[in-house]
Amino acid sequence: MGNTIVIQPVTRIEGHAKITIQLDDAGNVNRARVNVIELRGFERFCMGRPVEDMPRITPRICGVCPWSHHLAAAKACDAVFGVQPPPAGAKLRELCNSLAFMEEHILHFYFLAGADFLLGPDADYSVRNVIGILGAAPEVARRVVRVRHMCAKMLEIIAGKAIHPQAAVPGGFSKPLAKEERDHLRKMADEALELAKFSIKFAKESIFPKYLDVVKSLGVITSGFIGTVKENGALNLYDGKLRLMASDGSYDDFPYDRYTDYIAEHIEPWSYLKFPYAKKRGGFALEDDAPGLYRANTLARINVCDFIDTPLAQAELEEFRRNFGRPAQLTLLYHWARLIELLYNAENAIRLLDDPDITSTETRVKVTPRAARGVGCTEAPRGTLIHDYETDAEGMLTNVNLIVGTTHNNAPINLSVTQAAKSLIHDGKYDQGILNTVEMTIRAYDPCFSCATHRLDGKLSVKLDIFDACGSLIETLAN
């Protein structure tokens, strides 16, 4: 019987996961699985509650993407009530979305994935921490920290609080933006744009060339992609239509409230997390380039859009496509795409702050309960986020379904880890550097695996099934 290597937990991703790699008798990788836990019982908890509670409740289920849940919930409420926010309400929401994206993308590139690139995958494990990165690149770190602070501060100014946002409400936004606040924010946005420009230049000059061989070989799979675009095909992270692209570049566009016509969810007995797939393209198969296989998150969005309607990010997109084509498939290009999105969001924030609508005092419209179904969809830093609600005539919830960004990438993450493990582990030989490189593959997707409990001791609610080479369950581990 083959050996099983367990890497647990996966470090520096948002949440916890356990990778199980199964070796065959010769010591080569037979199969790899990423086992995760999932928030359970949320839909049932919501039943019977007023739908307008959802934008306040959902930021509490995830401390990592609170703004994304907040905005998707508000949009779903708009749809349930059958209203459109006034321009200022919609633009304030989009502005907050761009700022939250910047905060997350900066965090991910410089600090979550940063250790891989700034310190190298073989660095001593004991220095792979926040202070380690500060020590390795102190000037860069100081600049990055300042802009992250500013993004948090900007959200605080616009929404009244930096965490557990409540400013987006059904029908719009609760707090108009004063002109003096706008002027204050505008200066900060200029500085954030400078950091975004610096970041992609720094990465292209000092980081990516050094790791191009790794980019071309690690975790590589072929898949389709999903993301949001405007009617004209431009990238948008707050609103638009969904585009589901196949690996050959052909695609279907559809309104996001028709997602169930295009996406189905498969269940595997070894994972709590569902496996969405493009059902019009074929059934589910956990295989490279399977017709139903698609990916979400930065690379997906950069692939599905026809263009970016801000000049600096568009120039970067053109260069990216000259180098890697469309759709680009190399998994570690998620990092590059993340920096293009960082630039887009910085430009978009300035564009929105310069828009005269942004300081209008008409930020919301009145809503009235009714029996209806409403779908809200935004792009979250980690992928397409869908909130789907149904209410009775009093506006009480009768059905709730959420598909979160990381769920879209469940199958691709498993396939990329398998590919990475197969290329790096031979004849049973591996060391810490190799295992961390396998983890690098997962981190490229920037997954957020757990919205469960947060106990001080960090204990995990994890169940692990170990299978032999014939697929028979030989052991179950749980804590």
Binding site: G15, K153, K459
Partner: protein, 176 residues
């Protein structure tokens, strides 16, 4: 640097003391820290020198920013649920170094491996880091808000301790 440095620093970094109530209110006693934060906010006069936040599940964002910030509070108090095999509702102070080293050197800030960040803060920056923990009853595996009776009883006691240690004024507001 271009422009008003202090305007870019969030309050939770710039005030002398930072008190964070941590946990997920959807999972039973895991919401202990948030409940204490709410109790302090509504029953006590929080001094201007203290930043008190119900950090919920967003604690990692705050600590991470704090860890990297050029300006930090002198004192940091974390209030959170824990399992140290004591009686449910028993609350106690622990040294960050005592937190089980489940994930010692990682960056995952989604759950309490925030313990790494606490250690880094304490060791590398000189911030006084204290942790107020409360022993939980078994946590639900699915979403079920609400504290157990034992932990509920601990909330006002723990809040009073925090007020004594961190607030200059410890009188409960009479209107509460």
């Amino acid at each position: 640097m271009a422009y008003m440095e202090e305007d870019a620093i969030p309050d939770f970094c710039s005030k002398p003391a930072l008190i964070l109530g941590c946990g997920n209110v959807f999972f039973g006693d895991d919401g202990f820290g948030c409940a204490v934060a709410e109790y302090l906010e509504t029953r006590f006069q929080v001094p201007g020198s203290v930043c008190l936040l119900d950090a919920g599940t967003s604690v990692r964002k705050l600590l991470f920013t704090l860890c990297l910030s050029p300006v930090r509070p002198r004192r940091l108090l974390i209030m959170d649920a824990a399992d140290f095999a004591r009686e449910p509702g028993e609350w106690f102070e622990i040294d960050p170094a005592e937190i089980p080293a489940v994930k010692l050197d990682d960056f995952s800030m989604h759950q309490m491996p925030t313990s790494n960040l606490l250690r880094e803060l304490q060791r590398e920056t000189g911030v006084e880091v204290r942790v107020l923990a409360c022993q939980t009853a078994p946590l639900p595996t699915e979403i079920r808000p609400g504290l157990s009776a034992a932990v509920e009883r601990a909330v006002p006691e723990a809040a009073a301790w925090v007020a004594r240690e961190y607030f200059q004024t410890v009188q409960e507001a009479s209107h509460a």
